[in-house]
C-alpha cells in the first residue's frame, strides 16, 4: 500500500496544483467581468476561489510529504559473491584418519587388493560412498598394486597428479572439451600474455566418488519490483513479487507487476 499511497499523493499534488493554477486566472477574469452576473453566481464564484485558495495554501505547506518508494538495499549474503571453488581436494595420495595422515601405500603395500569383482565390499574406507553410476568397483580407477597411482586401460599406472587422464578413459567427449577449454572452470587472465590463467582439473570440481556437480542454494533473486513493498513480507514471497496468493498462481514474469498488493 505504501507505494500506491505515495503514487496517489504525488498525482493528487500535481492535479491540485494544475487545477488551481488554471482556475485562479479564470476566476480572476470572471471577477473582472462580473458586473452583469447575478449575485448567486458571484457568490458561488467567490466560494470556489476561496476553496481553491485554501487548497493551494495547504499544498504550499506540503501536508503530504513525498515518500520515496525506494526501499532499503536487500541484504546479499557474502557467499553469493564467493568465488571459492566447490572442492579443494588435496591432490595427493594421502589418507586422513582422525589426526593421522597416511600415504596410501603405507598400508596397501602389505594389504593385498581384493579379488576382481564388480561389487564393492570393503571394511575399510567406509566413509567413502561410491556413487559413480555403473562404476561400482574401487579398482576400476585405483591401481591394484600401487595405490599411489590410478590404473589405465591396459593395467598400467597413471600418476596421481594426472587425474584427468584417468577420467578420460570413460569421459572422452568431456575430456576433449576440457582440453580445449569449453568444459571446466578457467580463471585468471583470458590474455595469457598479460597474466596467469588457471584451469581446474576434473576432481577440483567433481567428487570422483560422487561425480554430479553438487546442488547449492541459489543467491537471492531480483528485487527490483519490490520497491517500497517489502514490509511484512517473508523472503519467499519477496522473491515472487508477481505472484498473487503464493507461488502457485499469478502472472508470469512478463505480466503486469502493478497493484497486486
Amino acid at each position: 500500500m505504501r507505494a500506491v499511497d505515495s503514487r496517489l499523493r504525488e498525482s493528487l499534488h500535481a492535479y491540485a496544483c494544475g487545477a488551481v493554477s488554471w482556475c485562479a486566472p479564470s476566476g480572476l477574469v470572471a471577477c473582472m467581468s462580473e458586473q452583469a452576473a447575478p449575485s448567486a453566481i458571484r457568490r458561488s464564484r467567490l466560494s470556489v476561489c476561496a476553496a481553491l485558495l485554501i487548497c493551494a495554501c495547504s499544498l504550499a505547506f506540503n501536508p503530504l510529504p513525498f515518500e520515496s518508494p525506494v526501499s532499503r538495499p536487500a541484504a546479499v549474503p557474502a557467499w553469493a559473491t564467493d568465488a571459492t571453488a566447490v572442492r579443494q581436494p588435496s591432490l595427493a595420495p594421502r589418507y586422513r584418519a582422525g589426526v593421522f595422515t597416511y600415504g596410501c601405500n603405507d598400508c596397501h603395500k602389505i594389504l593385498p587388493a581384493g579379488a576382481g569383482d564388480t561389487v564393492r565390499t570393503v571394511i575399510q574406507h567406509r566413509e567413502i560412498v561410491l556413487e559413480h553410476g555403473i562404476n561400482t568397483w574401487c579398482l576400476s580407477c585405483h591401481h591394484p598394486v600401487n595405490r599411489n597411482a590410478f590404473v589405465d586401460d591396459r593395467g598400467g599406472e597413471i600418476p596421481w597428479n594426472q587425474p584427468q587422464r584417468l577420467c578420460a578413459k570413460c569421459h572422452g567427449p568431456v575430456y576433449r572439451d576440457w582440453q580445449h577449454g569449453s568444459h571446466g572452470r578457467t580463471n585468471g587472465y583470458w590474455d595469457t600474455t598479460r597474466g596467469e590463467q588457471t584451469r581446474r582439473r576434473c576432481i577440483e570440481c567433481h567428487d570422483p566418488h560422487r561425480p554430479p556437480f553438487p546442488s547449492m542454494r541459489p543467491a537471492p533473486g531480483p528485487n527490483t519490483l519490490r520497491m517500497g513493498r517489502q514490509h511484512g513480507r517473508d523472503r519467499h514471497e519477496a522473491h515472487h513479487p508477481l505472484r498473487i496468493g503464493g507461488p502457485g498462481g499469478g502472472a508470469g514474469p512478463h505480466g503486469t507487476g502493478l497493484g497486486e498488493e
Partner: protein, 340 residues
Amino acid sequence: MAHSREDKHESAPHSGQAAPEVSRRGFLAQGTAALAGASAVAAALSPLRHLAPGDVPTVEEFFQKHYKEMTDEEKRQVFARIRQAAEKRFGVELDLADPPPMDGVEFVYGLNISRCIGCRRCVHACVEENNQSRAPEIQYIRVLQMEKGSINVETADHHYDPPLVPDADKYYMPVQCHQCAKPPCVKVCPVEATWQEPDGITVIDYDWCIGCRYCEAACPYWARRFNFAEPEIPQEELNPNTAYLSNRPRQKGVMEKCTYCLQRTRVGRMPACVEVCPTGSRKFGNVLDPESEVAYILQHKRVYVLKEDVGTIPRFFYYFDERGSRYREPITADGPGGDA
C-alpha cells in the same frame, strides 16, 4: 452591496470612458483569486525544495563534451573532477582508468546452458564489480529458469527461489547484454551517448546520456537498466577500480548496461561473472585468436543465438554439450545405461 459599488463609482476619478470599477466584492474576489494563483505557483514549485545539491549540474558538468570529442587534456580534467565528486559522495578514492580497446581483439562470450545450475552468483559478482545501485536494485544479469523441452522465454521465470538449485525439471539461461554487432540500442539513441567500440563492446557515456530510455525499449535482450533514483552504494562495497566507460559511479536518470567488465577485460582479465561461476559454464575470450576457448566453442560446439531472427548479430553465444543435463537421477545398474 449595490450601494457601496455606486459610492466607489462616484468617488473614482474617470474621464468619460468606462473606468475600471472596483467594488469591495470585486476587490475581495480578485484578491482571493490572485492569492490562490500565487499559492498554486508556490505549491507547484514546492518540490524544488527537495532538490539535492547534486541535482543541479555545475557549469563544468553542464559544458562537458562528449567522450569522443574530448582531448586528452580535457579528459584529464574531467576524470579529476569525477574522482573528486566520487570522493565527496562516497568517501572513497577512485582509481578511474580509461583503458583503450586492444588491437586485434574482439570479445565474445560463450555460456554452456547444459552446465549452468542457476545459482545466481554471476548476478551478485557483477553488481559488486560494476558498482550498480543497491537501492533501487540494478542487476545486469537476469537468470531465466526455463522449462525443459524448448527455449521459450515466455514461460521463463527469473524470480525462482527453491532451497536448492538446479531443479531437475528445469534448465537455466542467464541473459545479459549480448554486445550485438548491429546494436539497435545504439541506433535509437537520439544523442549518440552510446556506441560500439572496436573490440565489440557497446558503451555509454553516462555524462552525455539524457535518460530517454529509447535504448531500453529497443534492446531485445532486456539488457539495459535505468537509474530511476540516485544510486545507493554502501561506502565499503564501492569498487574503486573503475573505468570511465564502464563501472564508475553513475548518477540518477541515466542508462547503464553490461560492458563485459571492460575495466578488467581490456587489461587481459576475465569478467567478474566468469571468475565467480562455480560450474565453469561461462567462457570469455578473443574470438580473433583461433586458439581461444570461445573460438573452439564456435567451431566445434552446438551454438544457440537467442533471438537470432531479430538480426542483431550478438557476440554472446549459448552452447550445449553432447549429453544434456547431468543432474538427473544418477545412472544405476538397473536404470537406463546400466548393466542389468
